[in-house]
């Protein structure tokens, strides 16, 4: 498998903080949740330029500074499948209220090159600011000129080159200069920026001084040529200060570590690579065995071998790589070996759109691998999920001795979230019917391993090296000790044994998350990264007086349908929101519940739902 799409991903990326408005799991049928509606006042900044110019550095510095000043920040990155050049962007949506989405129109565009002036001009709201550094820039076409005039866009040219020349500073310092102009426009203090660069360059005094000089110049620029402009932020809320600012991949990496995973194998492929990199970068501290394998099949096989031996292991990949892993998935199904696959979705088919987002691999996750076997498919929607679901994934894999596929997508993986510090105490280690006690081991016989009479089809499991009777973890259909057996009665019994786990698993899974009134007129159903933008929109004025409920699925297969059936039965309409062409989840839920789901808001252009877009499409669906 060739690693398509390489993203120069370093440091914090876009994310979405659940903030104080964390949804709670409904202890069904008590699903009444109060709505606290306040119009979110938000400000959006978009930094654009060629890849490699410093778009990410400026975005990250601003994000970190704003979060530390007491704002909730949601960051969203767009980039192309190349290393240098192209056109990339880093958007920050900032508020004192929780913000989990990006708007299409922004208050400020900062562009590194002249392409961005033209390309991103129309991203600006009325009265927005365009900050650029192209000397003597003149708009070439009348439409652009008219737009600037009609929309009252303020165009500010920064004398970046001249300032850097004066300071004898390298072009890279331009990033700090640009950041400081933005900082000044946002009405923030110089000292906060000093603190950020001190963290980065504190050990290099001369570099630090140069950075400070750039910051002073940046503030001077604002005073000299942009004195009349500002982007006022509301008074900060100190509660955000102790939050984390991290990407979904980083959160998931921490979740993997938290879950007790001790071997991680992968093969680079966007958008799963940032997770592999994060875990690899941390290996000297976590002492985890990390292996960049020769291909996805190897990564999957190593994970399974390590799981069988008795540690916790996982692998990560994206669509095409997952295709290669599916034979291994099927093997874990018949041999009943716990397995954890993390599938970071991007648009297919084929190489598709390597650096963009999609939810088009749900049915792949549900249906991949030959033959029939039980599995669990779950999906993370933000940083919080990415962390919290990982111990669950390993627990279900071990308790039910099944493969677990954790879906994420480029949006969740690479967005930057403002996140409350993760709870380190809730997760429990659950290893199911793993026998470790010497006395119990001594009692075992080989036929206990795949005993078809085991309750719920979950038989005892014990590890190579245990002082016990041995067995074969068998990829062929087998008798209860793993010996070959092709008899029809045995085949039936073993198939029944394995698939019996589905019902037990279904009962063990939690109900989906519900937010909204008890009997909503409109029920929105979705999964994955759409949650953030749906919640943001529902908290706006246009929706707060309406009777709308949102049912969010984290566990996608097997499907719990009780909440859905109860809510959708009384709702006048049910609307599905998905980033794919076919409404894959709606189809699965129809299959599981028998209820036809026709209303769908779908998107499949590689971009996530933006705030205004979700608002407008929801409004038109409701009318």
């Amino acid at each position: 498998m060739v690693p398509f799409g390489s993203a120069p991903v370093r440091g914090p990326e876009p994310s979405q903080g659940r903030g104080q408005s964390r949804q709670l799991r409904s202890p069904w049928p008590l699903l009444v949740f109060p709505f606290f509606f306040t119009e979110v006042t938000r400000l959006s900044i978009k930094i654009v330029g060629a890849q490699g110019q410093g778009v990410n550095s400026v975005g990250e510095m601003c994000a970190k500074g704003l979060k530390r000043s007491g704002y909730c920040v949601f960051g969203y990155r767009e980039y192309m499948s190349l290393i240098k050049g192209g056109h990339s962007s880093y958007q920050l949506d900032v508020s004192i209220d929780p913000v989990h989405s990006s708007t299409m129109k922004v208050d400020l565009v900062v562009t590194f090159n002249h392409h961005g002036i033209e390309k991103n001009l129309r991203d600006l709201k009325k009265g927005g600011i365009l900050l650029h550094q192209t000397p003597q820039w003149k708009f070439r076409n009348d439409e652009d000129k008219r737009y600037v005039e009609e929309q009252g866009i303020h165009v500010i040219e920064m004398p970046t080159e001249a300032i850097l020349k004066k300071l004898k500073a390298k072009p890279i310092l331009g990033n700090v200069l640009i950041t400081s102009v933005v900082w000044a426009l946002l009405g923030q203090e110089q000292e906060q920026l000093h603190e950020l660069v001190r963290e980065q360059f504190g050990h290099k005094t001369d570099l630090l001084d140069l950075n400070f000089a750039c910051i002073s110049e940046g503030f001077a620029v604002r005073k000299d040529i942009a004195a009349n402009f500002s982007l006022p932020l509301p008074k900060p809320d100190p509660a955000w200060k102790n939050h984390l600012l991290l990407t979904g991949s980083q959160a998931m990496g921490l979740g993997v570590i938290h879950a007790g995973c001790r071997l991680f194998a992968g093969y680079p492929m966007t958008p799963s690579s940032p997770l592999l990199s994060f875990i690899a970068d941390g290996q000297n501290e976590t002492k985890m065995v990390v292996k960049q394998a020769e291909d996805e099949i190897t990564a999957a096989q190593m994970m399974v071998g390590a799981m069988h031996m008795g540690t916790r292991a996982a692998t990560t990949t994206s669509g095409g790589g997952f295709d290669l892993m599916t034979e291994t998935l099927s093997f874990t199904g018949v041999a009943e070996i716990p397995a954890v696959f993390i599938l970071a979705q991007r648009p297919g088919p084929g190489t598709g759109l390597p650096t963009w987002t999609a939810q088009g691999d749900l049915q792949l996750a549900v249906g991949s691998g030959h033959g029939e076997f039980p599995r669990l498919v779950m999906a993370a929607s933000d940083a919080s999920d990415s962390f919290e679901l990982m111990p669950e994934a390993f627990n279900y894999a071990e308790e039910f001795q099944i493969p677990v596929i954790v879906l994420t997508d480029k949006q969740t993986a690479e967005a930057l979230f403002t996140q409350s510090p993760f709870d380190q105490t809730s997760a429990k280690l659950k290893r199911g019917k793993l026998v470790r006690d010497p006395k119990a081991l001594a009692q075992l016989s080989s036929t206990d391993r795949y005993d078809p009479a085991a309750p719920d089809g979950i038989s005892q499991r014990w590890l190579p090296g245990s002082a016990a009777a041995t067995y074969c973890a068998q990829g062929y259909e087998h008798a209860s000790d793993g010996s070959f057996n092709e008899e029809p009665d045995n085949a039936r019994q073993q198939m029944d044994k394995r698939l019996k786990k589905v019902e037990a698993l279904k009962s063990a899974l939690p109900e989906p998350l519900y937010t909204g009134p008890k009997n909503p007129e409109t029920l929105i159903v979705s999964w994955g990264s759409n949650r953030g933008v749906i919640l943001d929109v529902l908290e706006s004025d246009q929706f707060k007086k309406r009777s709308i409920g949102y049912l969010h699925y984290q566990y996608l297969w097997p499907l719990k349908t009780e909440s859905f059936e109860m809510l959708s039965r009384t709702a006048k309409q049910t609307v599905f929101v998905e980033c794919n062409h076919g409404g894959q989840f709606a189809s699965l839920l129809k299959l599981a519940s028998g209820r036809d789901n026709t209303r769908k808001i779908l998107k499949f252009d590689g971009r996530p739902f933006f705030y205004e877009e979700m608002r407008d499409r929801l409004l038109s669906t409701l009318q």
Binding site: P12, R68, N242, L244, L245, L254, I257, G260, R262, L263, Q283, E285, T286, K287, M288, V289, V290, K291, A293, E294, I297, T298, Q301, M302, V304, G305, A306, M307, H308, M309, G310, T311, R312, A313, E327, F331, A335, P391, Q419, P421, F422, Q424, A427, L429, R431, P464, G465, S466, A467, T470, Y471, C472, A473, Q474, G475, H478, D481, G482, S483, F484
Partner: protein, 284 residues
């Protein structure tokens, strides 16, 4: 030997080389005093894979062509348990050849026994990459057009740390090879030439008997990489067997991991919920 005895009767053809390899594997484990509960035997899919329930010990029988990474993952999880992988020439030099390449260069601590009958036996005698050129095989009625892969030259090109060759008619020598292979520090590659009376009509038991000789008896020094490579690759007139090359100087993969320096436990012993608070500071 009794400890490894399975009640399941063998299903190989009369005269199959797998009987000899099966016997030698059990003998080597017994000679090394490895209890069946203290070993993991991993099987690829092929005739040899039918061994998976013909002996005891912890066993795992995975997918065709994939036994090496499966075994490597297991070995990395617990280096205290010897891991032995069995595969055929069909899987190892076609579908799974990439795994072989990287296992040799990674030097995982495991033994790989390559059942080499120069064809795909279980799927009824198709040509493998090691089948002699021009041989008529199932799906190759005109004889195979491809050149035969020189598997030994190929393996030596990867800088292996242990290479041996045995043949299915010499159980004593195979046992000797396997005891050394299982004790080896890193990845031990063992080519077991085996008779396939049903489908291999060219390198028969008689042919092997006639051509194989113990290289040690002629004074071969397994420390000499270049001589070992030449000896192993050249099978035109005679086939050298025994431990052809071994070095214990190269650390195994898990020993090379800087992240694991000073760690005395194995990953299987480290599974617990880990408090990640110490790593959250970077995101504040």
């Amino acid at each position: 030997m009794h400890d490894y005895a399975s009640p399941n009767p063998c299903t190989w053809c009369d005269g199959c080389g797998d009987y000899g390899i099966w016997t030698a594997a059990k003998r080597a484990l017994v000679e090394l005093k490895i209890d069946p509960s203290q070993v993991l035997l991993c099987f690829d899919v092929g005739c040899h894979g039918n061994m998976s329930d013909k002996l005891l010990g912890y066993r795992i029988h995975g997918l065709h062509g994939r036994v090496i990474p499966l075994a490597a993952g297991a070995a990395l999880a617990n280096s205290a348990i010897p891991v032995i992988a069995f595969g055929g020439d069909g899987a190892s030099f076609s579908e799974g050849v990439g795994h072989l390449v990287h296992a040799v260069r990674s030097n995982y601590r495991m033994t790989f026994i390559m059942h080499n009958n120069a064809n795909y036996g279980l799927t009824t005698g198709q040509a493998s990459a090691l089948t002699w050129q021009d041989q008529k095989m199932n799906t190759s009625p005109n004889g195979i057009p491809e050149a035969t892969l020189n598997s030994m030259d190929f393996v030596f090109s990867l800088q292996p740390t242990f290479v041996a060759r045995g043949w299915s008619g010499d159980i004593a020598q195979m046992t000797k090879i396997l005891t050394a292979a299982i004790r080896h520090r890193g990845f031990a590659y063992v080519d077991m030439l085996q008779a396939c009376p049903t489908y291999n009509k060219f390198a028969t038991h008689e042919w092997l008997l006639e051509h194989c000789y113990d290289a040690a008896s002629e004074g071969h020094d397994p420390k000499d990489f270049e001589k070992a490579r030449a000896l192993a690759a050249n099978t035109n007139e005679r086939v050298a067997t025994g431990i052809l090359y071994q070095t214990e100087d190269a650390p195994a993969f898990h020993e090379r991991l800087k992240s694991r320096e000073g760690v005395t436990t194995a990953p299987v012993e480290e599974v617990k919920i880990v408090d990640t608070a110490q790593w959250l500071k970077a995101f504040e």
